[in-house]
């Protein structure tokens, strides 16, 4: 970069404020199109013959708002086409262990996008994994062709080549509450352009729980990925927000309508305005504060030119996720948390919410459970079952009282009666006390434990008859997360 360019960029960034639009409409589509128009129209972002990649939220084969609103995607694809885009690709990596092909089939996404003029990209190559004749070498070749290895800040990331090669990169992000970051910000949406296996934080990071190294490393990775390819257009869709419990649909989830969409060309600026709109202090967002410490363009709120609605007029407070697991209030469960890393907190949050939502009857049948999590959790009172969640809880509770049960030998009632009749003196023998290993303990290992493994272990522990809800759910889950395609995906991930 020469001095002239640097000087130009400096003066340019100083003179021109980052623009973010807050648009309000009667439908999501109207809000989106109005917002883009206020920013100068779609042709400001998309040129003739551009190859556009749209990154949207795609977590589970579930309905809105677990994934992005398809009506918003439809409006965006049509706009890009009108602006002359050559190819419009859409894609995302779903949650770990779920092939994109399965979600696409269940939601009929591939055909839907095709009819609109877009193309769903199977970033995990799950469309080719269906081919039974494919061998490991071919799989390796496919993977190496579709992913590129990049190094950022001494970390290596596999990023889909199609995203790197696209001329324009758009992030369409559904705003829902998030247990770790308060909101699903666009930075988190962009993070899932790397395969789920590489989103996992290394074990050594989790050992330092006291300063939550897990979260620090996760944030660092999120910002690294953001630096790889920054989007040209960022859409935070908060027309409907999932509040209370999220980002997936749980019993405590509520949907709130704001009619708003926040759009701009700088993801951090858009996220800052989103936080502000929802009455969340920007400083409380660790993602944003960490971004400040980096060499990333982080505009101050005062330097963001807000178009459309006035920020003061549209502030909408929302109900965030609980910050303590104890507040989830799962029936028949008492929660005992020690020092928890963010990884375990997140998994336990989802497990407890899942049980609360989908295992109503199971929890009624199996009462009085103690759920221990983290380093040095408090000793629970006597319970019927003890759930030890994560390696920390298993390791740290080895000497806890509940691990052993004390059995007093029963009195010999006949002998006692005989002695009473014969008026013999009472025996001074004390009842025998035996210590036995408590078998009512369910260990859910992992750091953090795998969600689906936990479900399998729970059903094994209680038995099918005692958990009818979970029994049905595991049968259903096995249909889409434990087939041949999933096994091949595991191999693909390991290559």
């Amino acid at each position: 970069m020469n001095c002239e360019t640097t000087f130009f960029m400096f003066t340019h960034s100083k003179s021109k404020k980052t623009e973010v639009v807050i648009s309000k409409g009667n439908t999501p589509k109207e809000s989106l199109l109005k917002g883009i128009e206020q920013l100068g129209g779609i042709s400001k972002f998309i040129s003739n013959d551009d190859n556009v990649f749209i990154k949207f939220n795609l977590n589970l084969p579930a309905g809105f708002p677990t994934n992005t609103n398809f009506d918003v995607l439809e409006a965006l694809i049509i706009s890009c086409k009108e602006a002359g885009a050559n190819n419009i690709y859409l894609g995302s990596f779903p949650l770990r262990g779920i092939p994109l092909k399965i979600i696409s089939d269940l939601l009929n996404m591939k055909n839907y996008f095709e009819t609109l003029g877009g193309e769903l990209i199977f970033l995990d190559n799950s469309d080719t994994l269906e081919n039974k004749n494919i061998n490991q070498d071919q799989l390796k070749k496919i993977k190496s062709e579709s992913l590129s290895l990049l190094q950022i800040n001494e970390n290596e990331f596999f990023v889909p080549t199609i995203i790197l090669n696209s001329n324009k990169f758009i992030s369409v992000n559904q705003i829902n509450v998030n247990p770790l970051f308060k909101l699903n910000l666009s930075l988190l949406n962009i993070y899932s352009i790397i395969p789920p296996r590489h989103q996992v934080i290394g074990k050594n990071a989790k050992e330092n729980i006291s300063n939550d190294q897990y979260k620090k490393n996760l944030i660092s990775n999120i910002l690294d990925v953001y630096e790889i390819k920054q989007p040209h257009l960022v859409i935070n869709d908060l027309f409907y927000i999932l509040e209370g419990a999220g980002p997936y649909i749980y019993k405590d989830s509520k949907i709130k309508r704001t009619n708003l969409m926040i759009i701009g060309d700088n993801a951090i600026a858009v996220d800052k305005v989103t936080l502000n709109t929802l009455n969340i202090e920007i400083e409380s967002s660790e993602l944003i504060s960490q971004a400040n410490n980096r060499n990333i363009d982080v505009p101050k709120l005062s330097n963001i030119k807000i178009l459309g609605e006035k920020l003061e007029d549209i502030k909408t407070p929302i109900e965030l996720c609980v910050s303590e697991l104890e507040d989830i209030k799962t029936r028949s469960f008492s929660i005992h948390s020690g020092n928890i890393c963010s990884g375990c907190f997140k998994q336990a949050y989802h497990l407890l919410n899942f049980m609360k939502t989908y295992m109503e009857k199971d929890l009624k049948y199996n009462i009085d459970n103690a759920f221990l999590i983290g380093e040095n959790p408090p000793e629970p009172n006597k319970a019927n079952n003890y759930f030890l969640f994560g390696d920390c809880a298993i390791k740290n509770t080895k000497n806890y009282k509940f691990r052993k049960i004390i059995i007093k030998s029963k009195k010999d009632l006949i002998q006692e009666a005989k002695k009473k009749i014969l008026k013999e003196s009472k025996s001074k023998k004390k009842p025998k006390i035996k210590e036995k290993q408590n078998k009512k303990i369910l260990e859910l290992p992992g750091c953090p434990p795998n969600f689906f493994n936990c479900l399998e272990l729970i059903i094994k522990y209680f038995g099918k008859k005692n958990v009818p809800n979970l029994n049905l759910l595991t049968h259903i889950n096995r249909l889409w997360i434990a087939g041949d395609l999933n096994n091949k995906l595991k191999i693909w991930e390991e290559l």
Binding site: F70, N111, L242, K361, H475, L479
Partner: protein
């Protein structure tokens, strides 16, 4: 001028209501009137009891009502006629006084300011007659014309025709703002919001669809309360040409020479069954029915998930309270303890008295929320495979020809917001239509469709037949038959197929039953 038949019948009712108190034995009265606006004849005393019971519950529970008949808007005073009903008991219309119209002046009718109009009317009536009215009913000139037309052949028409015409009348009256009642009863509020939900769907068409799905039946219903017992005889028969014939009779025990003072409900029901020669006789408590209907009308439309969940829990609780809150003869086999015991030995626990009324609605709604989301659009198609059996369908465009009704349900924020009806021709243009292309066409017009669900009429009929009318001699047969029908693409299809349906299709019926029964029936037999 109101229709003469209607007026004569109404005046007869008023006369009876006025004199009822001096009658020696009103329960044994042999006088019969038509229920207003219906062709159904009913014992005078029974009609009196209906008014006494239902009017305060659903319309107005206070005394004295003023009817205002209005002319066109451009007159100086819109009031054409005033009729004052002095009611000693709420809902019991006895005397009617025609009042001079000029005592109240209405220049224009503003529905949002009915409270002001009510105050004005109340002041005028207090001033003139020293009577405090509790409700006003406003009828436009067109209302009278519409009611007159409706009443023209009312005595001659069948129950089927009556229901069709009556629903049409209600829809017109509400949609065209031809009737106002102040204070607005919950039933009118419910109807008004339901019609918004139904968009352009005609109530009479909806009735036809529901009527088509309900199989033939012949049953009687004993509705019991502390002071009154009502027997309702309901019939649906199909003619050779599949034309429906509905019949309804309201009876009192003395009319059938029945003495139902026996405490044994089953014996009473058997007695009714013998006399009326019906297949089944049900017993229900009047208070339970009234409370359920009242809760139903109190449902806020658009229908919220929480409200539907609560109502479904109540309905299931009612269903499981067999021999407690309701009863029937002949006793369904499914409640036979010995048979249940034998079947339990094979690992199936079917005890409908232990139906999980508290958990089933959660399971259903959680599945819907997860798969379809909190905002979704679902396309429902009802087909009729029977058409192909009797050769009424050409092989070309077979799907189109089998298709009877198409609805699009729009859910927003976990509430059912709108139901659209879709014309067949909009969906089927090609000879061989695939579900995918149907979904695509609807998507283009209405936005992303979460699922297309196709039910055949035969499947729906069987569900009602076996589970609502308990119409089976064998305990297991209905469960197997229904599950098998769900597996058969002729009767049920869903696109895209979500995992739960895939599981039903993939596993054997017995396995599915073993998976589902523990969810539907509670484990503990306490």
């Amino acid at each position: 001028m109101i229709n003469k038949n209607f007026k004569d019948n109404w005046l007869k009712i008023l006369r009876f209501n006025t004199n009822r108190e001096i009658l020696e034995d009103p329960e044994n009265v042999k006088e019969y009137f038509r229920i207003p606006l219906t062709p159904i004849s009913i014992n005078a005393n029974l009609l009196y009891q209906f008014f006494e019971l239902l009017y305060p519950k659903f319309i107005n529970d206070q005394q004295h009502i003023l009817d205002i008949i209005l002319m066109d808007d451009d007159k100086k005073n819109m009031v054409q006629n005033l009729y004052l009903y002095e009611t000693r008991k709420a809902g019991i219309h006895e005397t009617v006084k025609s009042l001079p119209p000029n005592i109240i002046k209405i220049k224009s009718l503003e529905p949002e300011n009915l409270d002001e109009l009510f105050d004005k009317a109340q002041k005028a009536i207090i001033k003139e007659f020293n009577i405090q009215i509790s409700s006003i009913r406003l009828f436009r000139k067109e209302t009278i014309e519409l009611v007159n037309n409706y009443c023209e052949r009312i005595e001659e028409i069948s129950v089927y025709e009556f229901l069709e015409h009556f629903l049409d009348l209600i829809q017109k009256l509400i949609n065209q703002d031809l009737v106002y009642i102040y204070p607005e009863p919950i039933i009118i509020k419910f109807l008004r919001s339901s019609l918004v939900l139904l968009d352009k769907i005609q109530l009479q068409n909806l009735f036809k669809i529901i009527e088509e799905i309900i199989p033939e039946f012949d049953l009687s219903l004993l509705i019991n309360a502390s002071d009154v017992k009502i027997i309702i005889h309901l019939q649906k028969q199909l003619s050779k040409f599949k034309k429906s014939h509905l019949a309804i009779r309201f009876l009192t025990p003395p009319e059938l020479n029945l003495n139902l003072n026996n405490l044994d409900i089953k014996e009473n029901l058997n007695l009714i069954r013998r006399i009326l020669k019906t297949e089944k006789v049900y017993y229900v408590n009047q208070n339970d029915i009234i409370s359920f209907i009242s809760d139903f009308f109190e449902l806020a439309v658009p229908l919220k998930k929480e409200n539907l969940l609560f109502l479904l829990q109540r309905a299931l609780f009612g269903f499981r309270s067999f021999e407690n809150h309701w009863d029937m003869v002949p006793r369904p086999k499914i409640y036979n303890t010995l048979i249940r015991f034998i079947i339990r030995l094979f690992g199936f626990n079917i005890n409908l008295k232990k139906l999980s009324h508290w958990s089933i609605p959660y399971i259903i709604f959680n599945f819907i929320d997860f798969h379809f989301g909190l905002n979704s659009k679902i396309l429902f198609i009802i087909t009729d495979q029977e058409k192909s059996k009797i050769g009424r369908v050409s092989r070309n465009n077979i799907f189109k020809n089998l298709c009877n009704h198409i609805f699009l349900l729009k859910f927003e924020e976990s509430s059912l917001k709108k139901i659209y009806t879709i014309n067949k021709d909009e969906l089927f243009s090609d000879k061989y239509e695939l579900l995918y292309s149907i979904k695509e066409k609807v998507t283009k017009k209405y936005g992303y469709i979460s699922a297309v669900i196709i039910f055949d009429k035969f499947l729906l009929q069987n569900i009602i037949k076996y589970f609502f009318f308990s119409d089976s001699k064998f305990l297991f047969y209905p469960w197997f038959k229904i599950l098998k029908m769900f597996k058969n693409e002729k009767f049920f299809r869903i696109y895209p197929e979500f995992p739960f349906y895939k599981l039903i299709k993939k596993k054997r019926t017995i396995t599915i039953l073993k998976l589902l029964l523990p969810l539907l029936i509670d484990k503990h037999e306490f």
